[in-house]
Symmetry: none
Subunit: 134 residues, 2 copies
DNA sequence: GTAAATTTAAACACTTTCCCTTAACCCATC
DNA sequence: GATGGGTTAAGGGAAAGTGTTTAAATTTAC
């Protein structure tokens, strides 16, 4: 009946790291090699990613692929495109134009540069008109 | 580089479950016993909990250890204790007595039996007076 | 109350993770 | 070039997780 994904060792390292200690310093404190500290920290971050991905999956459970925003697309043209695709499936998007643009950018800021889509964004929709991105 | 926490088997079961199938029906579809479907589903839900707890931990990273609820403590005496400790650190807890007790029990139900603390619970607090448990 | 659905326990092979060591490599800066 | 911080690779032993079966127990529904 484990608690989280992170082991005690991993949490320990993350806490010291948060305080600004170097891997070498931590290694001395917990009596091991700096290589080991590096490995432990890496594993911890890996586990955190996996935790995020796991919860992401839950959204796709009741969502359906709607469309793809292709790289290069003007962000301002995305809402109309999305509305059209949703209508084809008889679904009503939950967000108005402004909210939708904000939600797109907030969800993954690194995928947009100014008004342009930098890399393909997959759009998923559920019955409530909620949107998810992958 | 594993993706999420959930195995393919677990995702498969969750998807069928979402569609409303019984464990028996799923067992027939994926050619195994219903007991096994149960185990797999349970493991999947367990993994989802663990994913949530893992991300919870991140909050405690910029939180500070406030105190420890020792095993055997009366749950109803916890709030006053916590308020006192917070005051010592010049922090104001975000929750009133009732909310605090509910939050404690909701956060990890398995650590409380009736009014009693079953095993030590570490209390963390951040600058906003938010509480986290570890 | 009976049948169906779900849960639990124990045991088993198999795979994976975890922590650790050693040794090497990258990349700044001095 | 040396120093400090970080990363990577290979390997080993202990521990934990996964899927499975079988069998029993418990909850839910009609």
């Amino acid at each position: 009946m484990k608690q989280g994904l992170l082991t005690d060792r991993q949490k320990e390292v993350l806490r010291y790291r948060k305080k600004g200690l170097t891997q070498q310093q931590i290694a001395e404190i917990i009596h091991t090699s700096k290589a080991n500290v590096c490995t432990i920290e890496k594993a911890a971050l890996e586990n955190i990613s996996r935790a995020r991905e796991t919860l992401e999956f839950l959204y796709t459970l009741d969502a359906v692929h709607l469309c793809t925003l292709k790289s290069g697309l003007d962000l301002l043209k995305a809402p109309e495109y999305i509305y059209t695709e949703a209508e084809k499936q008889g679904l009503k998007v939950k967000y108005d134009t402004i909210s939708l643009i904000n939600r797109l950018r907030d969800a993954n800021p690194e995928r947009f540069r100014g008004r342009q889509v930098r890399e393909d964004v997959e759009i998923y929709i559920n019955k409530d008109g909620d949107l998810y991105f992958g």
